[in-house]
Amino acid sequence: MPDRILSSSAALAEALHEEMERDETIFIVGEDLVAHAGIFGQFKGIPEKFPGRIIDTPISETCIAGCGLGAAMTGMRPLVDFHFSDFVTCGMDELCNQAAKIRYMFGGQVKLPMVVWCPDGAGLRAAAQHSQSLESWFVHMPGLKVVIPSEPADVKGLIKAAIRDDDPVMFFQHKKLFAKEGPVPEEEYVIPLGQAAVKREGKDVSLLCYGSGYYLCVEAAEKLAGDGIEAEVVDLRTLKPLDMDTVAVSIQKTHRAVVVHEACRTGGFGSELAARIQDELFDELDAPVKRVGAKDFPIPFSPPMEDFVLPNVSDVLKAVHAVTYR
């Protein structure tokens, strides 16, 4: 059966339909979901198909997060829609002091099957408070898992794994990728958390990426191929658990690595990954691990400035040239 071409929104909706059909403890809760089936149309058909299982809330991010947690503690499997990832700032206590710690503090008495679903990223001229990529905060928080798909097929397989997982999962999708299309298998499949995908093979440099960074790398790899540089593109897909084995195999082949993400560079996930690579694979490296990320500024509103702050393909190329020059 050939794969259909679906958008990420459609892939997400399809997965949710299948999962909600399968398991009636799954429900969706968040702001302004029902009337328009989610602000990105990501819950298309769900209000009609599963009335009462997609629930509009007041604007109360703190309580929404805690509400998901309380439901997860008592037999349900909530997907909490955070509207914009920027607003996780309003639920950090619930996510980091409660959800991340409760199972541990209570000595493993309880499972917390909860997905915190956050549209993130910039590029929509939405300015500083609606454009952030904050995943590295959660990577630094033991007790949470962090998943960031790029292509529609990953969205479908990973959301299923996240929903079935018994731990709290932060699930980020880039706002600009909802409409982006790609092939999505028709049959049932789950992409286990903690499995990176080598999406393009190459021997000269490893491009380690996720989310919107993946598309920058794909484009960069094309261009590099023209210059005779074969870049391997590793889509990490989940940052925690992290598939360090796949990363290591790639670097053992290429001996050069560039980490690419949209989050700002300082303290971003690229720091963690670069730090680990140089530690664990020191003798394999022929060049420093380079990090490509947004410049360390809030996202400005005006297009020329926003474009300037965000990482782009030429940043990736520059980084690759810097590491392959040696």
């Binding site: 328009h36 809330t57 309003c90 300015a127 005006s302 020329p304």
Partner: protein, 327 residues
């Protein structure tokens, strides 16, 4: 507070200015000249103008994502406002903020906010600052019915109440928070009843009647200036356009929108003034013309202003950054 002819006409002129500014913004957004997204306050002009008519230039105001009207009513320069919405270099924020993050500290306008209820703790701090500096300023926050359900609103009201801060909380209950009707997200009829839980006065006002708004706001401002503490005003109104420009608005019926259209605060005030023989058709037309010519100027200013250079993004983050690198 004098409500002489001049004052009344000035109120009207401001309401027209807000309405026309919003209309202009909607058009240029649709034309693709305004990046991002914008939230218009058409239908809520009586609230913005009525409230701000009671404020001095050195009083503080914070607002929301739907703050153009408040900013104009507080006395902002239309040219720099328009340029900011357009993302231009001569905008209030040099293009860094846009519609949702615009401010003018020279008139005490401490900013719009992209985070619902984000301004409430800030205005409480401004109120505390006034108290500590022992001035007779007041600090006022506009926010929406939806915002009322966020925790910071609760914390801010309580804090302002116990310290008797010169803060005025103005909730513009326009019946919806994005797609969500106020009755869904709140089990009581009137948001102003929450004031009692903090020990402050709360009042519901016909938010489409600029004079009623002005009267209630005047009382609240007086109270605050006199050191008697905060007030919660609920201006009952309606947003006549979508939540954002382009909103499919599946959540409300055309009849509802139309019925509120009949209560249009600008037209309504025009009728009042006409009846009082203060406004004539001719005068109304000349006010409109005046406003339009101001807006044309603002628009030309915005269109002529250059975009910021990409590297301008690197300015304005820190006041001082010496002795180390931040990146």
């Amino acid at each position: 507070m004098p409500d002489d002819k001049k004052t009344l006409l000035e109120l009207y002129r401001k309401m027209v200015a807000v309405r026309q500014f919003e209309t202009m913004a909607g058009e240029h957004f649709a034309a693709g000249e305004i990046p991002g997204f914008i939230h218009l306050s058409i239908g809520q002009e009586a609230s913005s103008v009525g409230v701000c008519s009671c404020l001095r230039k050195d009083d503080y105001v914070v607002t929301t994502h739907r703050g153009h009207g408040h900013m104009i009513a507080k006395g902002a320069d239309l040219k720099r406002m328009t340029a900011e919405l357009f993302g231009k270099r001569d905008g209030y924020c040099k293009g860094k903020g846009g519609s949702m993050h615009i401010a003018d500290f020279s008139i005490g306008f401490l900013g719009a906010n992209g985070v619902v209820a984000g301004g409430l703790p800030i205005i409480t701090g401004a109120g505390l600052s006034i108290k500590l500096r022992k001035t007779d300023q007041v600090a006022l926050a506009f926010f929406g019915d939806g915002a009322c359900n966020r925790g910071p609103v609760h914390e801010a009201m309580n804090m302002a109440a116990i310290w008797k801060l010169p803060v005025i909380f103005v909730v513009e209950n326009n019946q919806y928070a994005s797609t969500t009707p106020m009755e869904y997200s709140c089990a009581i009829g009137d948001l102003c009843t929450r004031a009692a839980g903090y020990g402050m006065p709360g009042e519901k006002v016909d938010g489409n009647d600029v004079l009623a708004v002005r009267k209630a706001a005047a009382t609240a401002v007086e109270r605050a200036r006199a050191g008697e503490g905060p007030t919660l005003l609920e201006n009952a109104t309606y947003r006549m356009k979508g939540h954002f420009e382009g909103d499919p608005q599946k959540y409300r019926k055309t009849e509802e929108v139309e019925s509120w259209g009949e209560k249009d605060p600008v037209e309504r005030f025009a009728r009042v003034l006409t009846k009082k023989k203060i406004l004539t058709k001719k005068l109304a037309a000349s006010i409109l013309k005046e406003v339009h010519s101001e807006l044309d100027e603002a628009l030309a200013f915005a269109q002529d202003s250059p975009f910021p250079a990409p590297e301008d993004a690197m300015n304005d983050l820190y006041s001082t950054m010496e002795g180390g690198s931040h990146a």
